[in-house]
Subunit: 341 residues, 4 copies
């Protein structure tokens, strides 16, 4: 049974395991002070095209979000997020556990706009309310959509004019950057945010996220925060070796492209079979709407998540592709779908 | 140059990498809900000899300490630790960051006793002070010593009589269990604590600690806490595969034994060269005291940490051995030491 | 210029100041361990009609909410509140600052229902989300409405069946209990909640809230939490002397009745002048909707808060009455209103 | 039975109650935005002799400490305190509950020195440990001693050179400033600290502490923190009216002088009776050492706290005087003491 449940079902891209094996007996310093970590940081900076940013490696997405946001905010300050945002829903209150409210805004497509942010500022007028301070956006979003360059720029410029920080959750950034309609580069992300991260876990790494801090004011003492929140891996190199493989050439982008291609193939099959989707995804998560009996039938041969009951007859499911998704699995899914119909 | 700096300088035991490779393309559920995780949990329970305990895998030691202690305590409750305890010194205030005071007691050998704990209880009399609730001990300790069975039992019985919890930091538990003077088993640890963990990072694993919760009252909802604190690894199997290798037979114990043997060899050489040590370690950390010029000379060919200035002429250093330490490196160190002298 | 801005514009009911004066030179124990505090606790228990509850005095509403909620919840647990709830909006993220998410539900009238609570439970399914644990309701609500007995009972029974706690914010409880449509008693509140408080600050006291803990599981060590959160007043008697005056007979209820009467008189005048209100308040806060030029005119002689822009022409304002509101001020307001028209 | 248990046994200085009565029916804005609060702030600034400081009124000492320290520090930063410091011992872990470690140093007389602070900096070397950032001192100290001007200046200059903040707990500042050996003024405190507070609760006020923020970097948004921590009193004027009475002329100093005089009288009697004291107090707390049977006898007619068992035969007790202590009570105590002897 093939699983479209998520993009972290398999281990790691073979090159990464290979690299772990090759270097296994070398001795390095711990806690990310080794030469491999330095090399991975350099490679990432080169891909971004900016020397002035700082790169840290953390174990996972929730940890990166909570460590960064709690380091960036003072106690009375809050984050603004789409109500579908990962920090708002799927992190067990991790941000609140560090003391900060997450102010949520309903969106149509998982994307925050300047208008959303402005409405939050308007509603928070004095010291009886939290002070909105950080705008959290995910690219790609939790529903598969992506931000365009002019949107990111507009948000960033509005935020700078209103003393807000911009933090981009890039757990699925690879997929966003390789989307067919994407016009954003790593360099743009650095120019239009105060911090962002380049997700490894969901794009072929064994584990790890690469947090890029752009804003000088946010750089000081950041390793203290990683350590305090339990995210400073003793064998730091097991993350950075992965990032070296991903960024020494363009593996990070190539495998994200593959994941997207597989998702587009799925969308094609879904459309050919006469079904629509819940959101307009151009990334590696797609959300087809099927009659419930179709969902039941599909589940006999495929694994995936229920997403949302659309109405009494229909259910939206989530299909996720990855660097490891074989074309054959996608084709079988599409054939099966047509057959059921 | 060989490094005795720590026991996480290398990658992982080859069997573990081999296991990652072998299973790499299999699809599993995320977040520790996969079959490998279940198997690892079962193996550990078998080694403990108790079916009723619960096992969770976390990424590292600081994270395990902060997640467990914040889950176990109510807001006004505090942990008691030796002033040399890892949570008291080397975790950047991770426990305090979750809201709890760490009450420290000076010890001679890094080990808490019933008398220490009783003195803390005596000093905390009412609601103007925190309420001591959890006794944190490390085995082996941060200075290489170990707890004996009667000591653990005495602490546990005292704690139960005084409504205190016992949590054992086992980041270097393997080394403790294989110490020449050890009389404690995994089963004893379960019988004389409310929770303890079996450290992987410092004993051959790529990463990970196995937290064993014994006390029924502490088991509920524990996965929520792991997730909230950022420690629920998406690809949970990369930790559990390691634990399967370590515990499917006795690899965990065998490699800890090797580390200890290498440390004992070091101690022999140090003693033969006429030097003493700061603490009576029978585990994989030894703390020889050398004249400063000897330290300087040794540093030309070996890497290690300074530990403490003993007096104007002498310095205690820390030498750590591991599963990966070659006998040759130890022999060279000892020869070099004699030569310098 | 008369102010309808809030119910804490004046000092305290004269009886309370008189009592402070009369006892001023007596020496008592500090921190609420004095005989006056004990007496006030006894009087409140008598009014509730239950011996088994525990009463604590805290300085203010935000402090009572944050102290109680953080004491009652474990780290991964969250509160459920109406989106208009005081803890959700007007406490500067005080609950989040203690580590807990406040899950909000949109309501029509500021009142949570079983259906609201059930919808939250349905949406929170596993450890990737917070665990809803405490239902927070305000009586009277922030928009002047009140809960009826069958509503409270339904909520309480649902909560007990689903392992949820019920906490009632009674900052304006006096006004709720004396509302013309009220059918709830202090005894009912104890029977249908795990904890509630009887607000003093907004009903004639100099300062202070009386927190009543009903659920036995929530009673242990509560004074530790008050102290830790900075709410244990050294001269505890200055709160309890107020509560003695309020509850030695029925002053608490009588002055709340007066406040409500004044509000009803305002509503009458508003209605007679041909205006409607935003919410159906039967308590001491009323929310008339006026054309903006009327608001501007009224402001020449009266002080009050803007509440919400209803449309381009009209504004809802908030008028608050209190124990101290003179009938003449209300009459003048109503006359002025008619005159403007 | 007369109580020397503490300096908050009585109500408030009569002038303060009188002032509450006189203004009781006036309407003012809430939350410290009223004219009385402004007037009290102005008076305090005049006494300090600096226009650039900011003054906030908070309810009590623990609350002032926790609000200020959590507002001033970033998550990984810690406070340094004497091990006898109020935040280290008697605030139920209030500082830790906001996420920050309190690093303690043993002192002989309750006073921190530059050497103490330097030793802490030396021990905290990297991101595996908290970053010491704020030096907390109490004047007068918890054992009745005071800081001299050159000591404060030395600490302040050292701290500025090492990027540390200085916060002075002035819960008993009045007593310190009026001590016979004092050479410090309110102006000096502003010049040699980043923030300090002028305690009201323990020097004649009904309640309240006046926090003075000197460092510009610490001023921004401070009211948010007060509100979030539950310390923004709705009827803010009840604190500020007290401070107006205390500072419109010199009542604050005069009554502190009286308290000190009474303490000195006690010391005289104690000395004449042939007893010594535990600490060299020149303020309103004295710590005589008596044989246990003398303590027992004294307790028949006087109330006070046990402080510390000095040896098997002798006990140090704590006697506290206040603005309200009658000379007669002191004389009776001294006579009684001589009689017992």
């Amino acid at each position: 049974m093939y699983s479209f449940r998520n993009d972290y079902s398999e281990g790691a891209h073979p090159n990464i395991l290979e690299s772990l094996l090759r270097t296994n007996t070398e001795q390095t310093l711990g806690y990310g002070e080794d030469a491999y970590t330095q090399k991975a940081q350099t490679l990432i900076k080169q891909h971004i095209g900016r020397e002035d940013v700082v790169v840290h490696f953390l174990v996972g997405g929730t940890q990166t979000n909570l460590t960064a946001i709690s380091a960036f905010l003072r106690p009375h300050e809050a984050a603004i997020a789409a109500s579908s945002g990962h920090i708002a829903v799927h992190e067990t209150g991790a941000i609140e556990a560090t003391g900060h409210k997450v102010i949520t805004v309903e969106t149509e497509d998982g994307k925050l706009t300047v208008a959303h942010i402005a409405s939050v500022l308007k509603a928070h007028t004095d010291e009886h309310m939290v002070k909105p301070k950080l705008v959290y956006i995910s690219d790609s979003t939790e529903v598969g959509t992506i931000y365009y360059k002019e949107e990111l720029q507009a948000i960033y410029e509005y935020c700078k004019a209103h003393h807000l920080l911009v933090m981009i959750d890039g757990a699925r950034l690879g997929s966003a950057l390789m989307a067919i309609d994407n016009d954003v580069t790593l360099n743009d992300l650095a120019n239009f945010s105060d911090a962002f991260y380049i997700g490894g876990t969901k794009n072929g790494a064994l584990l790890g996220e690469a947090l890029v801090i752009v804003n000088d004011n946010l750089k000081e003492d950041f390793r203290y925060h990683i350590k305090q929140k339990g995210g400073l891996l003793a064998k730091g190199r097991i993350i950075s070796l992965g990032y070296i493989e991903l960024f020494k050439e363009r593996l990070f982008f190539d495998i994200a492209q593959h994941a997207n291609n597989m998702a587009m193939l799925l969308l094609e099959g879904i459309s050919e079979a006469g079904y629509s989707t819940l959101t307009k995804s151009t990334t590696n998560q797609v959300f087809p709407i099927f009659p419930k009996e179709v969902v039941k039938k599909l589940r006999e041969n495929f694994d995936f998540s229920d997403w949302e009951e659309v109405d009494e007859q229909n259910m939206a499911i989530r299909l996720v592709t990855s660097w490891a998704t074989p074309k054959e699995a996608v084709q079988e899914f599409c054939m099966e779908l047509k057959k059921i119909k």
